[in-house]
Amino acid sequence: MAAGPHEQHKLSDPDNDVRHLHDSKVENPVLRWIDQRMPVISMIQLEYGSFPTPRNFNYFWNFGALAMVTLAIMIATGVILSMQYTANTHLAFDSVERIMRDVNYGWLLRYAHSNGASMFFIVTYIHMWRTLYYGSYKSPRELLWMLGVVLFILMMATAFMGYVLPWGQMSFWGATVITNLFSALPLIGEHIVTWLWGGFSVDNPTLNRFFSLHFLLPFLIVGVTFLHVVALHITGSNNPLGIEPKTKKDTIPFHPYYTVKDSVGIVVYFIVFAILVFFMPNYLGHPDNYIPANPLVTPAHIVPEWYFLPFYAILRAVPDKLGGVALMGGALVILFFLPWLDGSPVRSMRFRPIAKWLFLLWTVNFFVLGWVGGKPAEQPYILIAQIGTAYYFAYFLVLLPLLAKFEKPLPLPESIASAVLKRRGGGPLPAGATAKPMEKA
């Protein structure tokens, strides 16, 4: 604007303009033109091509990619299903049956979507288990972990609302029970529940908003997943040894090593997925959800989908309404504080002789909670749920902080490369130093 003629000339000089363009290394001229202006290709190349990745991942490190693949499948099948589904209490059940019978390959899309939800939780639970076992949540990856917990909670909300849509008995009563959790809040609880329902019971307005939100939330999940990956690529991945890479020998480029390894995992995963969809599509579901919703009759034994069972058990462990809801919420919220509750400098449980066993016990305990969550609310299941709940929290709040102080870790290997080569039967390793705090990355 106020620039003199000389400066104007300078601004329009292509040689100077080039400074503002991305210095692209792409050879194809068209792609290069794009990449100079919007360096997505360089970015992919950097983050998924040459990205230096610890060389010692085991197959547990596949599950992030598997979760991403599942998210893609869920969105693809979900968008197509939404074209055929009708969110109305009078029509929802029949519209789902129409998808199953009359829409071309409708049964495939619907079974892939409903079983995909289960597969998503299987994958995510294993992904989280790996994070806990190998201490991936510890500094500097706290935010990465917290974003993961946000993703998990978003997934739970999405899955819950998706289960309501077929408007079967379990849909209806699941929605009723879960929305009623909010009535435990003092003073405002009842108002919140009425607001959630858009009426005085779970009814058409509820179904409509659940459909809308069930469509929206997956895209939030995509957004948070992006942030999750951004955070991952700042700190780099953890690895089974839990020590940071020090030299180039400790890392390999992501491509082709981990792209091909992830591909192996994806194909195996698809086989499991296919067995579920094609041969036992209703195995993980509940027969009652093939009975159309009836607001006058509650099923004799109402249970949530299997992936909610451990948390459902925690809810029912306390005879107090607000207490149960608070504990269930707490079981999720506590995960956000995990990086600070576990003060041990050693990440991988491989080198934590006591914590490893207590964590494996925690894992068994989580399965036990899931098992009692599916049982009727009576003795001895209530007692088992109470013990399980106590251990769930004690592990995070008591055992991990104490272990940080008193546990004597095993010696850590010198480097990733030396540990890998030793496992292959290479030469003798330098004597392991005594355990030392993990290096600051």
Binding site: E97, V264, F270
Partner: protein, 275 residues
């Protein structure tokens, strides 16, 4: 450096395989299943006997003749009270009937249509595109005609009950005199496989030869129960055969692909082993 006390990963792998093996028979077993009684039934576990169906197992397919006989039983017995609202007559091509046979069947039924130019509803013979005729205009009418009990829709009944087709068969042959000490309420019937044992439905199949099968099969109660269970299994999962056939192809394909990708992975990773 000392190795960790035991190597966790192989242990977990073994555990996963063991769990899968333990799970698989439970999932694929169409055999005896236990249905838990409701709260009032004191948790007595009812064993549902296994019925041999051609669609059992992974590769099973429907026995067309049996399913067609089952449709006849539905048409002549069940349809007096039970609707099959998710099905249209045209769907019957799925049990091996030709379009003209389906048209002949549908034209036997009167369905309501309208309003006509005078604003009145009228009855006309059903077309293949029409849904199965419902025995009652609405649920209230159904209850009024059945002592207050609502005969449930049978479209997805096999998927809506623990035990599926085995349970359907068992229920239909499970009527008997109540054991001593058990009083059956007014209007109810004793059935050893029904949760709680007291069912409002009167025994629907009670005499051999109740239905005269066109193909000459002897219509024993057990035969009729098997046929209707097969028909209802088809009605609930008409995609079953296509689904399983596609699944087999899918898994064969993925296994080959998996082998190839794994070979590529081995090759690529072999670079690292030379150091």
């Amino acid at each position: 450096m000392r190795r960790p006390m035991f190597n966790l990963i192989p242990t977990l792998k073994a555990a996963a395989v063991a769990a899968a093996l333990a799970l698989a028979p439970a999932a694929l077993d169409t055999g005896a299943r236990a249905a838990e009684g409701g709260p009032g039934s004191g948790h007595d576990v009812i064993r549902i006997p296994d019925t041999k169906f051609t669609f059992d197992g992974i590769f099973g397919t429907f026995d067309r003749a049996s399913v067609q006989r089952g449709f006849q039983v539905y048409k002549e017995v069940c349809s007096a009270c039970h609707s099959l609202r998710q099905l249209s007559y045209r769907h019957l091509t799925g049990i091996g009937l030709t379009p003209s046979q389906v048209a002949a069947i549908s034209s036997q039924f009167q369905v309501q249509d309208g309003p006509n130019d005078n604003g009145e509803m009228f009855e006309r013979p059903a077309r293949p595109s029409d849904r199965f005729r419902r025995p009652f205009a609405n649920d209230a009418a159904a209850r009024a005609a059945n002592n207050g009990a609502l005969p449930p829709d049978l479209s997805v009944m096999v998927k809506a009950r623990e035990g599926g087709a085995d349970y359907m068969h068992a229920l239909l042959v499970g009527y008997e005199e109540p054991p001593p000490g058990v009083t059956v309420m007014e209007g109810m019937h004793y059935n050893k496989y029904f949760p709680g044992h007291q069912i409002a439905m009167a025994p629907p199949l009670n005499t051999d030869g109740q239905v005269t099968y066109a193909d000459g099969t002897t219509a024993t109660v057990d035969q009729m129960a098997t046929d209707i269970a097969s028909f209802l299994a088809w009605a609930a999962e008409p995609e079953l055969e296509q689904r399983r056939a596609m699944g087999v192809r899918m898994i064969v394909f993925l296994t080959i692909l998996g082998g190839l990708v794994y070979a590529v992975k081995r090759k690529i990773w072999s670079n690292l082993h030379g150091e």
